[in-house]
C-alpha cells in the first residue's frame, strides 16, 4: 500500500475514504450512463431495449446503491465545503459527519419504496 494512505482511522479518515470510493463509482457509472443515453440517436427501439436492463431486479437494486453513493457524496461534500469555508467547520467536523449520516439514513429509508417499487411489483406479480 502506498505510504500515507492510512491516517489514524477515525471519522475524518473513513469519511475521506468513503468520499473517494463513492466518487470513483459514480464517475464510472457516468460513462455508462452517457453511452446508454446516446442510444436515443440510434433508434427508439434500441434505447428502450437498453433501458429495459435498468428495470431488471438486480440492476434496479444497483440503482438504489447508486443513489446511496450519490447521497453520501453530496452530503459529505457539503460537509467538506463547511469544513473549508466556515470558521468553526473544522471544530464541528465530527458532529457534521454524524449529521450527514443521519440525513443519509432518513433519505435512504424514504427512497427505498419509490426506487424499488418497480421490482417489488414485478416480483409480487402485480
Amino acid at each position: 500500500m502506498p505510504a500515507g494512505t492510512l491516517y489514524r482511522g477515525r471519522e475524518g479518515m473513513w469519511s475521506w475514504v468513503a468520499h473517494r470510493v463513492t466518487g470513483v463509482l459514480i464517475f464510472f457509472f457516468l460513462f455508462v450512463h452517457v453511452l446508454d443515453t446516446a442510444l436515443v440517436r440510434v433508434s427508439p427501439e434500441t434505447y428502450d431495449e437498453t433501458v429495459a436492463i435498468y428495470k431488471t431486479p438486480v440492476v434496479n437494486l444497483m440503482e438504489y446503491g447508486l443513489v446511496a453513493a450519490v447521497l453520501f457524496h453530496a452530503l459529505n461534500g457539503l460537509r467538506l465545503v463547511a469544513v473549508d469555508f466556515w470558521s468553526k467547520g473544522p471544530r464541528y467536523q465530527k458532529q457534521m459527519l454524524w449529521t450527514v449520516m443521519g440525513i443519509w439514513g432518513v433519505l435512504m429509508i424514504g427512497a427505498f419504496y419509490p426506487i424499488l417499487q418497480h421490482t417489488l411489483h414485478s416480483l409480487s406479480g402485480s
Binding site: P2, T5, R20, G23, V24, I26, F27, L30, F31, V34, L35, T37, A38, V40, R41, S43, P44, E45, Y47, D48, V51, Y54, K55, N60, E63, V67, V70, L71, A74, G77, L78, L80, V81, D84, F85, A111, P114, I115, L116, Q117, H118
Partner: protein, 161 residues
C-alpha cells in the same frame, strides 16, 4: 549527536568549546525540503491546484441540486424507473430548460469526476510513466464522453423514426 562523518564534524565542537567550521572547513550544505531546483517543473509556478480545489467546491454545490433533482425525477417520482423510455426522454428534451439542465450536469459532473480521478491517480500511481498514461486515458475518455453527450443533447430528434 553521534552521527559524525568524515566531512561533517558534530556541532558540539571539540573539547576547546569553539566551532571547528571555518573557511577551510565549511559546514555541509543541506538542501531545504521544498527548495526549487532545476528539476522543479515550471508548471508548478501557477495557481492551477488552487483553482482546481475551488472548482471542486463550487461545481459540487451546483451538482448537489442538479443531480439530486435528476435522480428524483428519473428514479423516485412517478413510478421510479418504470416510466423511462424514448418517449419520456423526448418529452423532457422538448423543453430547453431540461436540455440546459442536462448539459450543465454533464459538463460539471464530468469535469468534477475527472479532477477527482486526477487527484486519485496522482496519489496512488507512483511511477511517472504509469501516472502519465493513466491521466492520458482519463482525459481522452472524458473528452470523448463530454463531446458525445453534448452532441446527443443538441442533435436529439424526437421524430428519428
Amino acid at each position: 549527536m553521534s552521527t559524525e562523518t568524515a566531512n561533517a564534524p558534530s556541532e558540539g565542537g571539540g573539547s576547546t568549546g569553539t566551532t571547528r567550521y571555518s573557511v577551510d572547513n565549511p559546514a555541509p550544505l543541506m538542501t531545504p525540503p521544498r527548495a526549487r531546483t532545476a528539476r522543479t517543473p515550471k508548471s508548478t509556478r501557477t495557481n492551477f491546484e488552487l483553482y482546481g480545489w475551488l472548482f471542486m467546491r463550487l461545481s459540487g454545490i451546483v451538482l448537489v441540486v442538479l443531480v439530486i433533482g435528476h435522480l428524483l425525477i428519473q428514479l423516485v417520482l412517478d413510478g421510479g424507473v418504470s416510466k423511462i423510455s424514448f418517449a419520456f426522454v423526448a418529452g423532457r428534451w422538448a423543453s430547453p430548460f431540461w436540455q440546459i439542465w442536462d448539459l450543465m450536469m454533464l459538463w460539471l459532473a464530468m469535469l468534477h469526476g475527472m479532477n477527482g480521478m486526477r487527484t486519485i491517480i496522482n496519489d496512488y500511481a507512483e511511477r511517472d510513466g504509469t501516472r502519465m498514461w493513466l491521466k492520458m486515458l482519463l482525459y481522452t475518455a472524458t473528452a470523448f464522453t463530454v463531446l458525445l453527450g453534448t452532441l446527443v443533447i443538441f442533435t436529439f430528434d424526437p421524430n428519428i423514426r
